[in-house]
């Protein structure tokens, strides 16, 4: 090996290294499972030395936004309390007992978002040890941003609503029309399978419909911003996501029945 380094020239080493890099790139595109394992291994090893830097980042971020977030949250809590009170009164008038709370949210910090997969997925710092389950809804500021697709002990990957493979049942709040929200991998959202004759207007809100126990119904997704193309009697509606998808620093993960979180 020493002879190889001594005798050969840098440009030759450079050429071989470029070829080796290209081979690794080609193989990693073919062997998705092996790439994923290597990525997870490197990330889990680096998570230990990175802990102080991550903590410092969170402190700076939290202290910077504390005042702003506090005012925003206070306003939201007041609004929700009033809404809750009105709903409780309506239930009492109808003689229905209020059901117990079906779940809770835990806060998670975004630890990785690849520029190459900006609209596809991101990683958070909560995993199965914290009670996160595959498929769980992930929200930001009360709006759905995605769902958990892969979990490990201390981290999880979240597929964003803008991902090209994302599909979720949803309803238009004002008309109760049901459809499917789909992403296109480029930051756009569409509501599919809305009959053409339905009177869906710009500004109407869209939220999740009842699917399963890990995606809560009624979680806001966004608002209608226009009509798209019509296909076989159904019209696509364009949706603007409610969450700030380009500024996701922390999210909330839905934990059905409290999720059994340990933290």
């Amino acid at each position: 090996m020493r002879i190889l380094f001594r005798e050969s020239r840098p440009w030759l080493h450079s050429f071989i290294a470029v070829l080796a890099g290209a081979v690794v790139l080609f193989l990693s595109s073919r062997l998705g499972g092996a790439k994923l394992t290597a990525v997870e291994f490197v990330n889990s090893v680096l998570s230990y030395p990175e802990k102080p830097a991550l903590a410092l980042r969170n402190i700076i971020k939290l202290s910077g936004n504390w005042v702003l977030e506090r005012a925003n949250l206070k306003e939201r809590v007041e609004r929700l309390e009033l809404k809750n009170l009105a709903l409780e009164e309506a239930l009492q008038r109808a003689g229905v007992n209020a059901p117990p709370a079906a779940g809770a949210y835990i806060s998670a910090v975004v630890t990785l978002r690849y520029p190459q997969e900006w609209w596809q997925e991101l990683r958070i710092d909560k995993g199965t040890q914290d009670g996160v389950r595959d498929g769980a809804a992930v929200s930001s500021e009360g709006y759905l941003v995605g769902r958990v697709t892969r979990t490990s002990g201390h981290s999880s990957w979240v597929e964003l609503i803008t991902s090209s493979s994302f599909l979720i049942a949803a309803a238009v709040d004002q008309t109760r029309d049901l459809g499917v929200v789909a992403g296109d991998g480029r930051g756009n959202l569409r509501l599919l399978y809305i009959p053409d004759e339905r009177n869906i207007k710009r500004g109407m809100s869209v939220s999740t419909s009842l699917m399963n126990d890990i995606i809560p119904p009624g979680l806001s997704i966004g608002t209608i911003i226009g009509a798209g193309e019509e296909k076989e009697g159904y019209r696509e509606m364009r949706i603007a996501a409610g969450a700030h998808l380009t500024q996701l620093y922390s999210v909330e993960v839905f934990m059905p029945n409290g999720g059994g979180a340990q933290k």
Partner: protein, 156 residues
Amino acid sequence: MIMLSLIWLLQDFAQLMLMGICMIPDVFLLAILFIALLPGKTKEEQSKLIWAAFIGGLLWDLRWTNLPGLTSAVSCGLIGLACVIWQKRLPSTGRTPLPFMLILAGCELLYALTHCFFWTMPSQSALRQFIVQQLIAVPVIIVFTWLFSRISERDG
């Protein structure tokens, strides 16, 4: 190599701190270029630095880009090219801080452009990220050029 490992880790921490705000320049690549182009560096040492860049680039890809091999290939290609230009195209009297700075700036620009090509973020955001990354690279390049100038003067 310990120094290079520390620089890689510092770059990783800096990217972690600024994640979602901006992309940081490849200080690790600039540091390797700085060492490789210092006066008196042998071909053997330069070859070793190329493979150090390969490993560092691969780890960076596995941590940050999800395209394993891309940073390795780009970094190694740029270092090889820089070494050839520095030793074959420039006379020893012309190996001054100015061409050194131009080589560093050119390598950083090519490195960032190659990565930009694979980004899927909106074009406006990508352009903004690219410009910020290059602006952050400016003081780093100036510091390395200053260090190069000091070492060149010391070694005559």
